[in-house]
């Protein structure tokens, strides 16, 4: 079989898995679009009628939520980058034979249920907790000030939850750098700082791009941190979508919001892939 019908073999291997993804990932996206143009109400049922007003509502009524999602995700991505870079660099260049152990520490948060680790932040940032205590003592937070239920808490939670998505691609691209290139730069009288900015950093850029995407995208759709660590004033677009699906049963509006979110993110991906090439994005 392998020898005679070689051209057929890959398709037989791909078939079942790709079919699953086509039916339960691609096809649903069409239904998302279809549902987003329905109108009616939950009692009489929703029917398709080119209801574009769901989209105009998405851009007018829910503009603050979209903006907040982009802002929080953007800030969290930048912070995650600055925390992850030294971490990834240290593991790639200094951890020696313990690399795998330290990598395991980086992904350790993934093994604690997402909701539980977010609730742990609730404990850490609680009004009677040690962090608020300390910040009050050094007067960074006023005596009746708090961290929980603030934008800071929400952004800190998002940063924490998606940090490994930034750190891992950074590590992968830093690890692949040929050390001889850095040594060559230093032999040519580049200082260590110059060698870093002229050689190491540019060579690890694919990791930066991949990490940024992998952090920003899920962060923009997140609603758990805003729900558990924030107040209604920190609500992101994800909060609106989930409540419209699960609580209000306004499916068309929820679908329209989801569709806009996905369109924004697809645009981001296309822009990135144009910038650095497909294979590299996906390998990251």
């Amino acid at each position: 079989m392998l020898h005679r019908n070689r051209w057929l073999t890959p398709y037989l291997l791909l078939g079942p898995g790709l079919a699953w993804l086509a039916v339960f990932f691609i096809v649903p996206l069409f239904y998302l679009g279809y549902t987003s143009l329905q109108a009616g109400d939950i009692l009489t049922g929703y029917t398709f009628q080119w209801a574009w007003e769901n989209y105009s509502d998405a851009f007018t009524l829910y503009r603050p939520h979209f903006l907040r999602s982009l802002q929080y995700a953007g800030v969290a991505t930048v912070i995650a980058f600055f925390i992850s870079y030294p971490l990834a660099y240290w593991i790639a260049f200094r951890a020696g034979r313990w690399k795998n152990l330290f990598l395991l520490l980086v992904i350790a948060p993934f093994f604690v249920t997402y909701l539980i680790r977010t609730i742990a932040w609730k404990t850490i940032l609680a009004d009677q907790g040690p962090v608020v205590d300390f910040l009050r003592t050094v007067q960074l937070v006023s005596d009746d000030g708090r961290l929980l239920a603030t934008t800071t808490a929400v952004v800190a939670g998002i940063t924490y939850n998606y940090l490994p998505f930034m750190a891992l691609p950074l590590y992968v691209s830093l690890e692949q750098i040929d050390h001889r290139l850095i040594e060559a730069a230093q032999d040519l009288y580049a200082s260590r700082v110059q060698a870093f900015f002229r050689v190491t950093f540019p060579l690890a850029l694919p990791g930066v791009f991949a990490g940024t995407l992998l952090t920003f995208i899920p962060a923009a759709g997140d609603f758990i941190n805003a729900e558990l660590l924030g107040t209604p004033r920190q609500q992101m677009i994800g909060n609106v979508i989930q409540s419209k699906f699960k609580e209000i049963a306004d499916y068309p509006q929820a679908a329209a919001l989801s569709f806009v979110l996905m369109a924004m993110i697809l645009l981001a991906i296309v822009a990135y892939t144009r910038l650095i090439g497909t294979e590299r994005t996906m390998a990251g």
């Binding site: 392998l2 890959p10 398709y11 291997l13 791909l14 079942p16 898995g17 790709l18 699953w20 993804l21 339960f24 990932f25 649903p28 239904y31 998302l32 279809y34 549902t35 925390i83 971490l87 660099y89 240290w90 593991i91 200094r94 395991l104 520490l105 350790a108 948060p109 993934f110 093994f111 604690v112 249920t113 909701l115 539980i116 680790r117 609730i119 742990a120 404990t123 850490i124 609680a126 009677q128 907790g129 940090l163 923009a220 997140d222 609603f223 758990i224 558990l228 994800g238 979508i241 989930q242 699960k246 499916y251 679908a255 989801s258 979110l261 996905m262 497909t278 294979e279 994005t281 996906m282």
Partner: protein, 284 residues
Amino acid sequence: MTAAAETIQVKGRKPGFGVAAWAAVRRHTLTVLAGLGFAYLLVPIAVVILFSFNDPAGRRNLTWQGFTLDNWLNPFAYPDLRAAVELSLKIAALSTIVATVLGTLIALALVRYRFRGRNATNLLIFLPMATPEIVMGSSLLTLFLNYSFPLGFTTILIAHIMFNISYVVVTVRARLIGFDRHLEEAAMDLFANPLTTFFRVTLPLIAPGVIAAGLLAFALSVDDFVITYLVSGSETTFPLFVWGAARVAVPPQINVIGSAIFLVAVGLMLANVVWQRRRSLKGA
């Protein structure tokens, strides 16, 4: 070169205290930053484990009251919690098996064959990982709603297989890239048929990758909240139970289950790493 530079410096004049301190800071900045990064990643996990031993007055487990082993001795003090954990494990086991098989086949096709539609396949694998969970969940939900498909066990299982396939493909593919095809050809030359070759040669060689992928899929499934929440109907998995509890009060039993999942997952990851190292030592 560095040695020469040092000699020159020593010959010149003794570096003052400030210079020495600055050198020390420069030498250790990276390590300190990486250490802080690790602390940021790991402190919440420590909090989760610590608070599983807390003895709170009521069901609120937000401030430290006193040490107790009660929670670990009665992890299933709430019957709903037991049911939720059982459902999570069942879904995780089934979705892991299906997704690992489908994903491994795709990875084999991608690494070992040149075929038309390769780029499209890569894109189809990449997209689910780059789509926010809320979009995937809501689009699947609209598919089910439009066909009035009853939400529950089946829909959760379908969703989990769907989002796990891509992660399996990526994990197995990473291991397959360094794979020596000559071993398979040798088996075929020795008159092994393709099926025997696959089970006696290929599968044992890629086993560590497949197991790592299976562990990842299991972990992702047990952890998933957003997609499950949208397509679950009235079923309650463990993360959904936590969500419900988070709105009222989180009992310490949740920390017990969370810690247990964490310890088992990390233990299995370590075991897989050790096992691989043994195998590679034996091979060499």
